[in-house]
């Protein structure tokens, strides 16, 4: 029987029935709360997802513009500056810092970009030719990277929310499909066991009562017999023989009534 396995191992006592009932109550409240949390998170999640989708599409455009401004640099400088740029990179001017955002108890980090002052690795790039394009290209790319940082925040939020929602949903489902049915099963089991005990007890009591009654009847008959014996010590013994069988019959009749 599957029901037997799907309950907790408790002794079917009234005390554990009480505990189980309290547990069921708790599970239901928890379920409601978690469900609500999951819904709130999912709502936020969908919103973020939509924004990611938009931002990713927008990014394509932003990066194209940035690429074109790099093409402009190549055009103006009249050569490829890639190598020189790679070699003169020293210290990041464009950095990020993380801050936190609280959504229904979940801390979502968000990146924020900032520019550090004073370290300009490429100030002289294109000094003789194309310097203005280089500066403009830097601005364009800085704007593009800002957009990328924003997208990265969204994506981090997405990954974390995804994880959190999975956990919450797992909990909701666990409560809904495992804990609640199991607790209910346990309660049912305890109840049936208790009923069984009740019936046994009732039968036992009945049995005891019956026995008592029979004993009383027997005692009574004994006493009566002795009394009669004492009275009729001198009377005819056949009379005694007559009364005996009649008594036994009556007793049998009594038993019949009971069962």
């Amino acid at each position: 029987m599957s029901g037997a396995a799907d309950r907790e191992a408790v002794f079917p006592t009234r005390q554990s029935l009480g505990i189980m009932k309290a547990k069921l109550q708790g599970a239901q409240t928890g379920h409601d709360l978690l469900k609500r949390k999951s819904e709130a998170l999912t709502k936020r999640f969908r919103e973020i997802t939509r924004r990611i989708d938009e931002a990713k599409r927008k990014m394509g455009r932003v990066m194209q513009i940035a690429s074109l401004s790099l093409a402009e640099v190549t055009y103006a400088v009249g050569g490829n500056i890639g190598y020189q740029i790679q070699e003169s990179a020293r210290s990041a001017r464009f950095r990020i810092r993380a801050k936190q955002d609280n959504v229904s108890g979940v801390l979502l980090p968000a990146f924020e970009s900032y520019l550090t002052e004073g370290n300009n690795d490429f100030a002289m790039t294109g000094l003789g030719k194309g310097g203005q394009q280089v500066q403009r290209c830097r601005e364009t790319y800085a704007r593009a990277v800002e957009a990328l940082v924003e997208l990265a925040s969204l994506q981090t939020a997405f990954v974390i929310l995804d994880e959190v929602i999975k956990v919450v949903n797992r909990r909701v489902n666990a409560i809904e499909h495992v804990i609640i049915p199991r607790t209910e099963n346990t309660i049912k089991y305890i109840n049936s066991e208790l009923d069984e005990l009740d019936r046994e007890e009732f039968y036992r009591l009945k049995k005891v009562a019956n026995k008592k009654q029979r004993d009383t009847a027997a005692d009574f008959a004994e006493m009566k017999k002795r009394k009669e014996e004492r009275e009729d010590e001198n009377q005819a013994p056949e009379q005694e023989a007559q009364a005996g069988p009649a008594d036994i019959l009556a007793a049998e009749e009594d038993e019949d009534v009971i069962f």
């Binding site: 969908r46 997802t49 990611i52 989708d53 990713k56 599409r57 990014m59 394509g60 990066m63 194209q64 940035a66 690429s67 401004s69 790099l70 093409a71 490829n80 500056i81 890639g82 740029i85 790679q86 990179a89 020293r90 210290s91 990041a92 001017r93 464009f94 950095r95 990020i96 810092r97 993380a98 936190q100 979940v106 801390l107 980090p109 990146f111 520019l115 690795d121 490429f122 280089v134 290209c137 830097r138 790319y141 800085a142 593009a144 990277v145 990328l148 940082v149 997208l151 990265a152 925040s153 994506q155 981090t156 997405f158 990954v159 974390i160 995804d162 994880e163 959190v164």
Partner: protein
């Protein structure tokens, strides 16, 4: 989540794996950083036709796992394609891996790991 909270405070750099033009552009924006000697670790990798996939994976590994000061890893989509299995199995929140278009390879939303997850989740 508890570990990442303490974790991301120090993450203040971006890293990039890309073709020469993308890297040049992003470096111009000022994200380039070379750690002080003796390490001299760069936070960027220029990939061309000659770079083998192992080198890309190694750089990806270094930026995402070893270095604790990188918050965002930018990677060109066509390069991400070359190590797609690594990207697809990467699920950490930090650092964030972001696929970006390159000059010669326009952005294809169908290939993006995250967008594909988005689609899958909503059964689109």
């Amino acid at each position: 989540m508890t570990t990442s909270q303490a974790d991301f405070r120090d993450r203040q750099f971006l890293a990039v794996i890309g073709d020469e033009d993308s890297v040049t552009g992003l470096l111009l924006a000022g994200i380039g950083h070379v750690t002080p000697p003796p390490d001299n670790q760069k936070n960027f990798l220029v990939v061309d036709a000659k770079t083998d996939n192992a080198a890309i994976e190694a750089a990806f590994e270094r930026f995402t796992t070893e270095r604790k000061d990188i918050g965002i890893v930018l990677i060109n989509q066509h390069i991400a394609d070359r190590i797609r299995h690594r990207i697809d199995t990467y699920t950490q929140a930090f650092p964030t891996v972001l696929e970006i278009p390159s000059k010669d390879h326009p952005y294809d939303p169908e290939k993006d790991s995250v967008l594909r997850r988005v689609r899958r989740l909503f059964g689109e």
